[in-house]
């Protein structure tokens, strides 16, 4: 009798662990399966802000963007690499530039690898449509670096380490941008200086 209980108990326990583990793995990793790549290395997620049609979609959306806005209100994009495909690094100095974006309001925010704001007190986490003043050529520019220097618009990467990311939010995007994100003229990121990698 005891052997039978042990037998079935072990079977159910092993099964339950595999089932729960695979579910957890799915909702953590599956978000990436719906990622799409756009100009300049920006990535968007086709599921973000969508209405859950099934339990899988709901679980994946809840995990990656709980309490996020619907796609009608905001679309989100993330950039995690420079033009050469290298991960973004606190040790580098970048220039982010762009023109008008197809939305009522937009912002670009820097997040540390843990997806929270970097642990610095520079109060320079982002640039947004109200602060980005276009130059004579119609484009706005922001420097992304650990120190401000002489930058007019500055996003601080201090304490953001290597592997940080930028999130672009388009609030109340135009219908064209929402339905065809590949038509968006995304901001461009250029590495101005980067220390030679230690090999």
């Amino acid at each position: 009798m005891a052997r039978r209980i042990l037998f079935w108990g072990a079977a159910v326990l092993i099964g339950a662990l595999i089932g729960a583990g695979s579910a957890w793995w799915t909702i953590n990793r599956a978000g990436g399966w719906f990622d799409q790549s756009y100009g300049g290395g920006w990535r968007g997620n086709a599921l973000a802000g969508s209405q859950a049609a099934d339990p899988y979609t709901r679980a994946i959306v809840a995990r990656s963007g709980l309490l996020a806005l619907s796609a009608r209100e905001t679309i989100y994009f993330t950039l995690a690499q420079d033009a050469e495909g290298r991960p973004l690094d606190e040790a580098c100095v970048y220039e982010l530039s762009g023109g008008a974006l197809p939305a009522r309001w937009w912002s670009v925010t820097l997040y540390a690898p843990d997806k929270y704001l970097p642990q610095n007190n520079d109060r320079a986490f982002s640039i947004d449509a109200t602060r980005a003043q276009p130059g004579a050529d119609g484009r706005w520019r922001a420097r992304i670096s650990a120190g401000r220097g002489d930058a007019a618009n500055w996003i601080s990467s201090r304490a953001a380490h290597r592997g940080y990311s930028l999130t672009l939010r388009l609030y109340q995007p135009r219908q064209e941008a929402r339905e065809h994100p590949d038509t968006i003229a995304f901001p461009e990121l250029t590495a101005l200086s980067c220390p030679e990698p230690v090999s």
Partner: protein, 176 residues
């Protein structure tokens, strides 16, 4: 034949394990959103009262990727004792109200584009629960959920103005 009974036992073990795995997988997937929402509601705290978040800085670590350019207000609404009125004063820039049910579905959203004079909705569990004088009635799929107001406020001055604007926002049981 002893060999056959070993095969038999292995097959039964595998079958039981697979059945348990499928059940556990489906249960986990379907319960995860409610559990994440329950944890979020726990963090927001209280019921039928606004929690106005301070300006988002590096110290904000409750929800991933918070925007430092928005003033967030959250309210856990609880309809188990009747309808709840949710109102937010007008704001002169982007502003939205989103309602999420207990399993994380965003079942209602309104922005200042549709309602430039601010928001005033009555959330009910069933349409017939609505008070007679309620104007904008929204039926919630669950008794508990979260209301979230976002106001665009990218600078310290704008954030201070948002704090003044939101001071009289309402999240409270509706008068019947």
């Amino acid at each position: 034949m002893p060999g056959a009974s070993v095969v038999n036992a292995t097959a039964r073990f595998a079958l039981a394990a697979v059945a348990a795995a499928v059940l556990a997988h489906l249960a986990f997937i379907s319960l995860a959103p409610s559990m994440m929402m329950a944890a979020a509601m726990e963090r927001i705290g209280g019921a039928n009262a606004w929690a106005h978040a301070p300006r988002v800085t590096e110290a904000a670590r409750t929800i991933v990727r918070p925007s430092p350019d928005l003033a967030y207000s959250a309210c856990v609404f609880d309809l188990s004792h009747g309808p709840v009125r949710i109102a937010a004063a007008r704001w002169d820039a982007y502003m939205s109200l989103s309602l999420y049910d207990a399993q994380s579905d965003n079942f209602f959203v309104v922005s200042d584009m549709e309602a430039p004079d601010g928001f005033d909705v009555t959330v009910v569990r069933r349409a017939r629960d609505a008070p007679d004088d309620a104007v904008n009635v929204v039926v919630s799929p669950s008794a508990k959920g979260v209301a979230l107001v976002r106001r665009l406020a990218p600078t310290p001055d704008r954030f201070a103005a948002a704090e003044r604007a939101r001071a009289d926002d309402i999240c409270a049981p509706a008068q019947r």
